[in-house]
Structures are given as structure tokens and as C-alpha cells.
Symmetry: C2
Subunit: 208 residues, 2 copies
DNA sequence: TGAGGGATGTTAATAATTTAACAATAAATC
DNA sequence: GATTTATTGTTAAATTATTAACATCCCTCA
């Protein structure tokens, strides 16, 4: 499978979650326009994305929900479970950790890190919290591949460099500090403040 | 000023924050390539964005940091302060609220909402928490224009419709439920799970 | 059995975004 | 003072992403 556009990967993730809801509704087949409507995108978009992953519908019945879930899984999931750590277990860190709780998927949250003595060596949001000094040992021993960075801005750069040195292959950076990582490591950044200011821009003077 | 591309607006927000750091460093002028490097983008990108907002450098000295901060402010900020509410004051809501604390900007967090009796009518992360039943009154009385949605998924649709009915003009949706809003209301959505799964996709088989 | 319809897969067109190219400018250097 | 150098603003090109167009399929119903 050739490398998919990032935007398509994002939508595949959303398709899968929508399809899982369909399963709950006992819906076995779904048309492109129905799936599209649930996500507020166009049916063409859906069909084009599914074309890219080579999935075909059952004619006149739409897409087989269960089969499509599996197909998307084969594309975006790793074979084996991939281990994730949340670094910085403040409000945002706990929120992120919460998303993993009770979900069984190919992504397992296996550790968190923080230096707050109130948190260290306790189980928080379902996962043990280690001090930053143990990042090297824990990342290596637990074979952690992805780090979600929710630390205060001042630590962001240092911690990201460390984790990369210890074998992390993907970082999701929620701090306001832009990071850079060596090639071979995937970096995804999200900045809430930017999003908020963007909304404000479009609201002001009703630029819509 | 004609409507700017969304991506440019996002970067303007980032430029401004980077420039504020420059001020702290007592840096009065900055070259496009320096600003670009700090954000890990290209100098052309910076120059093009600034062209769009019609800001010119002082020749051979680069951009006047303070002046550019003001210029960006004039573009992306509203004249008067704009009021914001966080709806759902769980971990994520508190994290978002935290970003506003102590910052003086044209965006003011003036209320939060939640139904948890432990939270209602208390001040949390610097802002009073009201029960959902008071959304109408509070949104109108405090003239709240932007809602940041951090409620559990089941409430998302209902609450978003309410807030719009009561006068909200912009929504930043952090729930996993895709919303739709009438035209005239700006919607910005961010889905953490999608980001995490995207990182995992690019990490697996090292698709980088 | 064949015409009509509804949905798909795919190619082509359009739109949005980023990157490149380069002339213009003035400070620095000789 | 001429020449080199560094940086900008802007137009043009390339890339990426979305939307439209349409032939195709086969089910339905006459």
C-alpha cells in the first residue's frame, strides 16, 4: 500500500469510528452518502478515500460495515499493539489518558510521566505515573513507540529530544512550543490557542 | 481587509506568539527566515502571509517585532474583547480554561458550564461554573460569543444547538461527535483520537 | 426482457495551498 | 563609488486536496 495523504488517514480514522456506531445500531451496510452525512462531508470524498484504500462496496447495498472496519484497521493499525505514553499528567494529560480507558485497540497507553510527587508512582487515569528521570528505562523496557506531550512549555523541547533519543518514533505535541524531530520520527502538532484565535477571527465581523 | 485563508490565520496566531517571545528576548527586529525557523516553516511562507496582511519590513533590518504584533492584532483580534465559555469542565475543559488564566487578550473566558453538583456555582480554573440549565441566561447576559465544547459525547449535539440558538457565533468542538451549525456560525473541530491514530499510521512501517 | 434508477469507482476539472523564482532594494565591503 | 551581499515583496509554477462529471453496474418493475 502506497503512502496515503494525511488528510485521508484522518478521515479513515473518523470513518471507522462512525462505522463502529453503525454496528451498535445493527446497521450492516451503509451508503457513501449516509456515511458522509454523519461526518458532514461529501459522498464523493468518502468514495474517493475508499477508492484509495481499494475497498469496494457490495453493489446496490453500500459498504459492508464490519468488513470496512476491518479493512481500515488493516491500513491504519499496526499488526501488533503499539505502546503509547502520556508525558505530563496535568489536566490535559489526564484528558488524553481518559480516551484510552476501557478501549481495546491496537494502541495501548502503558505509562505516564510527571515529576509532581503527588502523582509519581501512582496509577492515574488507569496508568502508572513515572518520574521524568525514568523515561529512558521505561520507554525501553515497555517498548513505547509514541509519546503524547502534555508538559508545561518549558520542558517540551528537552523532553521531546530525550524521548526521541530513547526510541520514540512518533510524537503528538500539545504544547505551544513547536518542536523539531529527526527524520524517521513522525511529529503531529496541535495548538489549542491557535484554534481558539482562529474561531475568534472568523466570528469577528462575521467573516463566514 | 479581505477574508484570509484559514491556514494563514492559524499561522498569524503562531507568529504573534513567537514574536511575543522575541520581545521577552529584547529582540526588536526579526528576519523572515528567523521567524520561520522558530516555527519550522519556510521563510517564503512567512513573507507570503505577511504580504497578505500588507505588512512591510524595515529594509535590511527585518520586521519590527512590536509593530508586527500590533498589526497581527488588528487583523485577528476583535476591537472589543470577545467573551468565551467552556462547556463541560472535566479534565479537558479545565486544561482549556487554564490557557486563559492570567493572559490578558481580546479573548476573555467568562463562564464555564457543567452539571456536576461538585462543580456548579464554584469557581474552577479561574471562572465560575454554571449548570447547563442556565446556559440561555448566562450566554445572553454575559454576551458570550464563543463556546468551547468539552462535554461528554452524548451531550455534544444538544448543547451545540442550544448555544447557537442563544446567540453563540463560534464553536470549538473537542468532542468526538461531528457537529453541524447554521451558516453564520463558525465551527472548528478537533479530534484527538484522529491525531493519535494518524501518528500511529505514520509510525507503523515507518511511513515517513 | 428491457427501460429506468440509484449508487458506485474513476478520471478529469477546480480550488486551495505551498514552493520556487526573481527583480528590487539598500547596507556592507572593497 | 562600484560591487557584492542579504533580504524582501510578488508573480508564477507546482503540489495537494476537493469537487464534479460520467460511464458502469445491476436491481426493480413494468
Amino acid at each position: 500500500m502506497t503512502r496515503l495523504p494525511g488528510k485521508t488517514v484522518e478521515r479513515l480514522s473518523e470513518y471507522r469510528r462512525t462505522l463502529l456506531e453503525c454496528l451498535i445500531e445493527k446497521k450492516s451496510f451503509i451508503f457513501s452518502h449516509d456515511l458522509a452525512a454523519r461526518l458532514h462531508i461529501t459522498a464523493v470524498q468518502v468514495r474517493r478515500d475508499l477508492m484509495l484504500i481499494g475497498y469496494s462496496s457490495v453493489l446496490r447495498k453500500g459498504y459492508d460495515v464490519r468488513e470496512l472496519i476491518d479493512t481500515i484497521g488493516k491500513i491504519i493499525d499496526s499488526e501488533e499493539s503499539m505502546n503509547v505514553a502520556v508525558i505530563g499528567i496535568g489536566n490535559l494529560g489526564r484528558a488524553v489518558a481518559g480516551y484510552f480507558k476501557g478501549k481495546r485497540s491496537k494502541l495501548s497507553l502503558v505509562a505516564s510521566f510527571d515529576n509532581d510527587p503527588q502523582k509519581v508512582n501512582k496509577v492515574i487515569s488507569g496508568v502508572k505515573c513515572y518520574p521524568y528521570s525514568e523515561i529512558e528505562r521505561v520507554v525501553k523496557e515497555l517498548d513505547i513507540k509514541i509519546a503524547i506531550l502534555t508538559v508545561p512549555p518549558d520542558f517540551a523541547r528537552e523532553i521531546s529530544e530525550e524521548t526521541v533519543r530513547f526510541g520514540i518514533k512518533g510524537i503528538l505535541n500539545f504544547t505551544t512550543i513547536p518542536l523539531n524531530v529527526p527524520s524517521g520520527v513522525h511529529l503531529e502538532e496541535y495548538d489549542m490557542i491557535t484554534s481558539i484565535e482562529k474561531v475568534a477571527y472568523f466570528v469577528k465581523d462575521n467573516k463566514i
